[in-house]
């Protein structure tokens, strides 16, 4: 669903010999020429590390992102909504797997990436640490969270790293369904009873600000963006993407007849942009530091699921080994008989 620009600057300086510098220059020339970098190509170690971290955080976000929505599968109001939500959650699992595969091409195994998440060494998007209290939250997540994710992910389809770009193309195609199903839920609630509309408004009130935080810290405080932009991993800054999202979303909310929880929200005629109020970055920092409403619950659910699945992984591997042994024994017997 989403990757967040959380990475601290990479401080491990490469040992820069003249040969290394020449390679790095050739690498940058390929990037500047809009060539795609493929797994076996030479790349600077920092590029590899940055991408491994970004793609795996993105994958973790997809996987953890199933939890808040999974919460409502059994209580979806109709069979149609339930089928759609199941399909959406299944998509998120698929997105996580495409992304783990892309990350693995950089040389870190999926098992290691899982361990990093489960041990709390890897981050995932801050947005999934908020609770889904009512059915309207499922609408708000599809409309706003997936809407924000699309803003962020469309430029990633042109990322310089081939496997990541290709994974993002698949993800973006599927994500469009997610946003539309969410908006339709909101629309249905807004055209329903006053209680239903109030539920939709309450969901917007709770999700709006956390969604704006999804784009990461303001450009002035974001340290790592320069290098990512130079490597064509990131094509727009956090603030640029946030502004695009606000501009696209405000008219959609007005059509629903809802009010955004921001008294400072106003249209700037001259610039052609919606101007929004101050974001509470302290809240963002707290959620990232593990102190959001659901951080501990999400991590516990992931760890429990991983531990509960251990016997399945073991059994599958044992079964495969047994079949391979039997096939080998059969081949031996045939050879001796011949």
């Amino acid at each position: 669903m989403y990757t967040q620009a959380l990475n601290a600057r990479d401080t491990t300086a490469p040992v820069a010999g003249p040969e290394e510098a020449a390679r790095a220059a050739r690498f940058q020339a390929r990037i500047d020429a809009e060539e795609r970098i493929e797994p076996n190509d030479w790349m600077p170690e920092a590029y590899r590390r940055t991408l491994t971290r970004q793609i795996s955080q993105h994958a973790h976000s997809e996987i953890v992102g199933m939890l808040p929505e999974g919460n409502w599968i059994t209580r979806a109001p109709t069979l149609k909504r339930k089928a759609a939500l199941l399909a959406k959650v299944q998509d998120e699992a698929g997105h996580g797997l495409y992304l783990y595969s892309a990350a693995e091409t950089l040389g870190t195994s999926r098992e290691e990436l899982f361990d990093q998440l489960l041990a709390g060494r890897a981050k995932y998007s801050s947005i999934f640490n908020y609770p889904t209290l009512t059915w309207a939250d499922i609408g708000a997540i599809g409309w706003l969270v997936d809407g924000a994710a699309i803003m962020n992910q469309i430029p990633l389809c042109r990322c310089s790293y081939g496997p990541y770009a290709r994974a993002m193309i698949r993800v973006c195609k599927e994500e469009s369904f997610h946003q539309r199903q969410g908006y339709e839920i909101m629309l249905t609630l807004c055209r329903g009873t006053p209680e239903q509309k109030a539920m939709a408004q309450d969901a917007l009130n709770r999700w709006w600000w956390p969604c704006l935080m999804m784009f990461g810290p303001p450009d002035a405080e974001s340290q790592h963006s320069d290098q990512s932009a130079k490597w064509k991993i990131k094509r727009f800054s956090n603030d640029e993407l946030r502004q695009k999202f606000v501009d696209a979303t405000v008219p959609q909310g007005q059509y629903l007849g809802l009010t955004f929880p921001d008294p400072d929200l106003a249209y700037d005629e001259a610039a052609g942009h919606w101007r929004y109020g101050a974001i509470d970055w302290e809240e963002f920092k707290q959620v990232l530091a593990g102190n959001g409403p659901c951080n501990r619950q999400r991590m516990k659910q992931r760890r429990d699921a991983h531990a509960a699945g251990a016997w399945v992984r073991e059994a599958a591997m044992a079964h495969a080994a047994k079949r391979a042994r039997r096939a080998a024994a059969k081949a031996d017997a045939l050879q001796q008989a011949a």
Binding site: G94, Y98, S101, E104, R166, A316
Partner: protein, 95 residues
Amino acid sequence: MAEPKIPLWEVFIRSRNGLAHKHVGSLHAADAAMALQAARDVYTRRGEGLSLWVVPSAAIVASDPADKEVMFEPTASKIYRHPTFYEVPDEVGHM
């Protein structure tokens, strides 16, 4: 926790009759049957294909990007391999 690593497979899909199988990505599975099942779930949720191949990633032999020039550069100078190298008078018509 040292769980044994689950093997990696590359997935290829034939999207329509008459087209070749095309690489779409990879996945982990303990054996071929599970790899096919997982490929169906992960890569064909929206009618993407009519046929699936899964191939153990370790079975693929790839050319080295460092050999790119040695491998592929010589063809660039062999323009006589292309039909446009040969002149055919207009009067002869399309050939």
